[in-house]
Symmetry: C2
């Protein structure tokens, strides 16, 4: 890439490189430095050449990682930050812009270009069939950066509004009660036989997708590598697939 | 493709073929018959070879088009249906499954495989920066298949829940009042200076993205080729970009 002082934010997509857009692949191959978590760097390594420097993101806050990438670009390098899924959805694009804002970025140096990609909810939906056939929302159940009261209100809103819901970060060892609470809130508005999919590591070799219902969902089956997809009032199961009708006029 | 009786649902992505995943491209090239709207067929034509039959979808209902594609697969062909964006999001995946359900599909014949892609909201978000940095929802303002009361409640829920909102099908010649009504509902919960982006034909040669605010949004500027993206209470504009912080703890 002839431009220096450039930071490209590159989405890998959900699984192997066959899900990564060609334009994102070209962008990644055109920079001096590639930065990201070790697991993401391993995914894209077949695309890289020997002249490219690879920097493993330090563990630490997202803000620290964003600052590191921006500093490299400000120092005159062309830099790609990589994330799995879509880098704009629960990934590094937002922390990057938050840091640029704090630094009173002039909008030009570094130049910032974002390459979108297929997010986990889309890969999961494709495997299931058509669960996102009507209006949907995504909710992260992580309360590390968002007060639980905000998340709880959002779950109630999604339930009341009859959105199909994709829960990101549904559960981890440290955050073990939030999904059960969300399930309880949803059951106030949506019937116990609402289809629910538990999707773990979709598009990876150890992919596992389990269909259950809102009433039968067992949160202890869910971990941090999982996306939980809850149907709306019209969603249905068809064999081992799940879909949501395009409209409300005809329930078939 | 050696399997017959197969229907693949193929996402083209938002613009040119550089945004279409390699796995979707391979799937498209492996079938006997490709079916879709003329404009989508024109987009993918560079990928096709002479032995592939191309069928222009008849105008008419989505159900009619789904039935036509399924009938071709049931007749022993391998068939690809193409849609721009992600075929699972406001496109043909849901009508296909609705028809399969009505036909009491056995889950095996035809085999159905869905290839996800980058949707319009993601392409728009990438151009803007990071507006989907926190929980978001998509809402179609088309009341052709969904009663307006359902849509209105959903807009209210999204407003109350402080979701970033992507409005698909925001306005057409026949549906000219829904976006103004949605704007009115949103203003009951969200401040007039909330950032709003009007994104027309994103990732196409005539792409146009305009930043405005919830108070200043002029619905007559919006047409059926447009996606309207409304920030949450924390979203901000930075030069000609828009972003939403990853959390609520720190407003920078």
């Amino acid at each position: 890439m002839t431009n220096k002082n450039i930071l490209v934010l590159v989405s890998i997509g959900p699984g192997d490189l066959t899900m990564m857009t060609p334009t994102a692949q070209v962008a990644l191959q055109s920079v001096d430095v590639v930065i990201g978590y070790a697991v993401y760097l391993d995914q894209v390594r077949p695309l890289l050449n020997e002249s490219q420097e690879v920097v493993v993101s330090q563990l630490g806050s997202e803000v620290d990682r964003a600052e590191q990438a921006i500093a490299l670009a400000r120092a005159g390098r062309s830099v790609a930050m990589v994330s799995s899924g879509d880098i704009g959805i629960y990934a590094m694009a937002a922390p990057i812009f938050d840091v640029l804002r704090a630094q009173e970025w002039d909008g030009e140096s570094p130049e910032v270009i974002v390459y979108p990609g297929v997010s986990a909810i889309q890969a999961t939906a494709a495997k299931l069939g058509a669960p996102l056939g009507h209006d949907f929302c995504t909710i992260s159940l992580s309360d590390l950066l968002t007060p639980w009261e905000v998340i709880e209100r959002r779950v109630q809103a999604a339930a009341w509004g009859d959105f199909v819901i994709g829960f990101y970060n549904p559960r981890s060892k440290q955050r073990d009660w939030q999904l059960a609470k969300a399930q309880e809130l949803l059951r106030e508005h949506r019937s116990d036989d609402t289809p629910v999919a538990i999707a773990r590591n979709v598009s990876r070799p150890d992919e596992q997708i389990t269909l259950t219902t809102l009433g039968a969902l067992d949160p202890t089956q869910v971990d941090m590598f999982t996306l939980v997809l809850v149907g709306n009032s019209q969603s249905y199961v068809l064999g081992d697939r799940m879909a949501t009708p395009r409209g409300y006029m005809d329930k078939n």
